[in-house]
């Protein structure tokens, strides 16, 4: 305990000395997120300084091994770093699918060579990754995917199409599910493979969404040659890797509502609407809705904490991340409905400097995808019903 107290004091002091004041303010636009990658651009000097200091300390991923550029911290220490960052409203130094999704799968399934090749580039923000899972006819029924990888000497030749590939147009590499055995049963002929997006035959096309923005792309593979050594895990057992990774993806999506430094809803609403003589938000029903939301958000944060503690104690249920994904995404949608309501007519501006080019309505519309991407809410409930509650299959 004394050691952890010391660690907390040191962490607090280090963050205080190293996190620029500009990086402790709530994010207001997409440029405030740093994604890394070959073409990475910092939107400001403080953003660069903050990222580089965290990278040099190994704290882009505090709990990964030091040999891969992580911080080598244990679970309790990593939790302290998160708590102390939250306490000063520090932004995440980098947002990365390499960290939140691929990394855990690489650590579990990767060969030594694969780990040495990819993990340090992830912690240092050198390579930006995207995920090639969904296809036009394989969304919620992901195992129906049809993208083929045919053996040709030391390579696979990949043909097919992916859809909803987040930020594929900015990504350097992709981790991708492909069918390596078309004769096997649906889940059994799939492999998990990594390749460079600049490979010949890869092309992407953004999909314009209701938010007017495009995090998602269609991604096409036309005779793309990929070395067989790039398969992660066992050939035809890619579904195991995919499922493992999905748990992390779901945990990440469930936490989206509480991303560092966002302002409390009640304050946003009070600034916008005003308060009555007793300091209460001057809209009793909205106040009630926000208060109920705050209750649920605080409870979800406790559940997320408990999920980590249960996992550490070896008592967690692997399907529980589906429960958290379901609740976290539904809650995040509620949050943005309330933000729109709090903003009133001022939140309706779409194209103006004053509104940050419609940041709030665009974010609101974006959240509607939360309960679809990474497995729909209905799929999550089905997983909980069958795998945790053991209800009979239909």
């Amino acid at each position: 305990m004394a050691d952890l107290d010391t660690f907390r004091r040191e962490t607090r002091a280090w963050l205080e000395a190293n996190c620029p004041p500009e990086m402790r303010r709530p994010m207001t636009s997409e440029e405030d997120t740093f994604w890394g990658g070959r073409n990475a651009k910092f939107s400001s000097e403080p953003q660069r300084i903050w990222f580089e200091r965290m990278r040099d300390k190994g704290w882009t991923v505090p709990h990964w091994p030091k040999e891969y550029g992580g911080g080598g911290l244990d679970g309790e220490e990593a939790k302290i770093v998160r708590q102390e960052m939250a306490a000063i409203g520090a932004r995440a130094p980098i947002t990365s699918f390499g960290i939140s999704m691929l990394g855990p799968a690489l650590l579990k399934y990767g060969t030594d060579e694969q780990k040495r090749e990819h993990l340090p580039k992830i912690t240092a923000g050198l390579i930006r990754w995207c995920q090639g899972y969904s296809e036009p006819n394989a969304g919620s029924d992901l195992a129906s995917l049809q993208t083929r990888a045919e053996s040709d000497g030391d390579d696979y030749v990949i043909n097919g199409q992916k859809i909803w590939t987040s930020y594929a147009n900015y990504a350097d590499w992709i981790f991708c599910l492909v069918r390596t055995d078309p004769t096997a049963k649906k889940h059994d002929g799939i492999s998990f493979i990594l390749f460079d997006m600049t490979s010949k035959g890869v092309s992407t096309k953004p999909i314009l969404l209701i938010s007017g923005r495009s995090p998602f792309c269609e991604t096409f593979f036309d005779n793309v040659r990929v070395p067989k050594a790039n398969v992660l895990g066992t050939v035809n057992r890619g579904w195991d890797v995919a499922k493992y990774l999905l748990q992390h993806e779901r945990a990440m999506i469930s936490g989206m509502g509480e991303r560092g430094g966002s302002r409390p809803l009640g304050q946003v609403a009070a600034d916008s609407i005003g308060s009555d003589g007793q300091g209460r938000l001057d809209d009793a029903l909205l106040r009630a809705d926000i208060a109920t939301f705050d209750v649920d958000e605080a409870a979800l944060a406790a559940a997320a904490e408990r999920m980590v503690d249960l996992a550490k104690a070896g008592q967690g249920h692997p399907a529980f991340s589906s429960a958290m994904k379901y609740y976290g995404t539904e809650l995040n949608k509620r949050r943005h409905e309330l933000l729109m309501s709090a903003g009133g007519i001022n939140a309706l501006e779409w194209e103006s400097d004053r509104s940050g080019e419609g940041a709030r309505p665009r974010a609101w519309l974006r959240t509607k995808a939360n309960s679809i991407e990474g497995g729909t809410s209905e799929v999550m409930l089905g997983i909980v019903a069958k795998r945790i509650l053991d209800l009979p299959g239909a």
């Binding site: 938000l281 705050d294 408990r306």
Partner: protein
């Protein structure tokens, strides 16, 4: 502090669960109800509770108790919630014991706390007066008289009020209802002149009483804590009670949910188990998730109380609000998914619905606690 029970806390849970499920299943409550039992709970079982150290769980060791905390109280309450066992645990062992331990004079502590720990003394907190829980709206008057006070007014739904050997009465010695200053706690003998106690049969067949105080004389020795300054100790005692009731609701929710899922697996309609229907699967999964999230929030609050009661208010508000909403959903879904059987008195499920309604009102409902959180967060 991990959001898990420690090994000692798990052992406490196991021993409480064993005792309660052996001696106080739902049929125990049913029998007390059907026989219109005068006491409304089993004194014999309470004696066993005391022998096992549960009655004195929160009583400091120097006064014969175990000196344990909110998490342990929650562990016992959760088990009570699973079988709906009626007992003086909340009123005596949680609310009264902690009020005496925190605010009592040396003399008051040594007089009452050992008796609470031994199971010999039952005590009740007389607080609420109106339809809803509003501690600061206390209007029962305490007028100075000689070296003491005279109490006049009425209290409603005093849990275990009709069996209590000692009443902790919250009164207004100054100020007007709604103000924080001017509250005083008194220790009152229920047999004192001017005290009229009417047992009320509550919807859930648990104990409560309406109590009138008509110029009841108390001396300065009967003041618990500071005159006019009772709000601080009251709020910390109430937060502990709220955490305890929230725990009971977690146990209740989980039990009713477990019974419901079992029913979904066995009940057949249209040629298959109703648990195969996606409409019911999704509702069951949603309810499971609500319960798990609430469990975490309640444990968080209990740990916060043990770490620093003065800083626990927000976590407690979250826990009690969540527990109320979750228990309400759990019993409603439980009855609905049991179909017509759920509506019968012969089936136990209705007992859970009734108890959930009472627990929701006890020490503040979900709306009250959501509003508290809003106020704490300044909007």
């Amino acid at each position: 502090m991990p959001l898990l029970l420690t090994e000692e806390q798990s052992m406490l849970r196991d021993s409480a669960r064993g005792l309660i499920s052996d001696h106080a299943s739902v049929s125990h409550l049913r029998q007390l109800r059907d026989t219109r039992d005068d006491t409304g709970f089993s004194r014999q079982l309470w004696a066993t509770f005391a022998e096992m150290g549960f009655a004195g769980l929160l009583v400091p060791e120097e006064h014969g108790g175990s000196g344990l905390g909110a998490v342990e109280a929650g562990v016992i309450m959760e088990e009570i919630g699973r079988t709906l066992m009626p007992s003086p645990f909340l009123a005596t062992a949680v609310l009264s014991a902690s009020a005496l331990a925190r605010a009592g004079s040396a003399g008051q502590k040594s007089e009452y706390l050992p008796k609470i720990a031994s199971g010999a003394l039952l005590s009740a907190l007389a607080l609420d007066e109106g339809a809803k829980h509003r501690p600061l709206h206390t209007a029962l008057q305490a007028v100075r008289s000689g070296n003491g006070f005279r109490l006049s007014g009425a209290k409603a739904m005093v849990v275990d009020g009709h069996v209590a050997d000692l009443l902790l009465v919250v009164a207004r010695s100054a100020g007007t209802p709604g103000e924080r200053d001017g509250l005083t706690l008194f220790l009152v003998d229920p047999k004192a002149k001017g005290v009229a106690i009417e047992r009320t049969i509550m919807v859930d067949a648990h104990n409560a009483a309406r109590i009138r105080f008509d110029d009841v004389e108390v001396t300065a020795d009967h003041v618990l804590g500071e005159v006019d300054g009772g709000a601080a100790v009251l709020s910390s005692v109430l937060d502990l009670g709220r955490g305890a009731v929230a725990s009971e609701m977690v146990g209740l929710s989980e039990e009713v949910f477990g019974r419901t899922v079992a029913y979904l697996k066995e009940r057949k309609q249209f040629g298959k188990a109703i648990g195969e229907f996606q409409a019911l699967q999704h509702r069951a999964a949603h309810l499971y998730i609500e319960i798990e999230i609430t469990r975490a929030a309640v444990l968080k609050a209990l740990q916060a109380i043990d770490a620093d009661p003065a800083k626990a208010a927000a976590a407690v508000a979250v826990a009690k609000a969540r527990a109320g909403t979750t228990a309400t959903l759990a019993v409603q879904e439980g009855v609905q998914m049991h179909g017509g059987m759920g509506m019968t008195d012969q089936f136990d499920i209705g007992f859970f619905m009734k108890r959930a309604r009472v627990c929701e009102e006890l020490l503040g409902d979900a709306n009250y606690h959501a509003a508290q959180l809003a106020q704490l967060r300044g909007y």
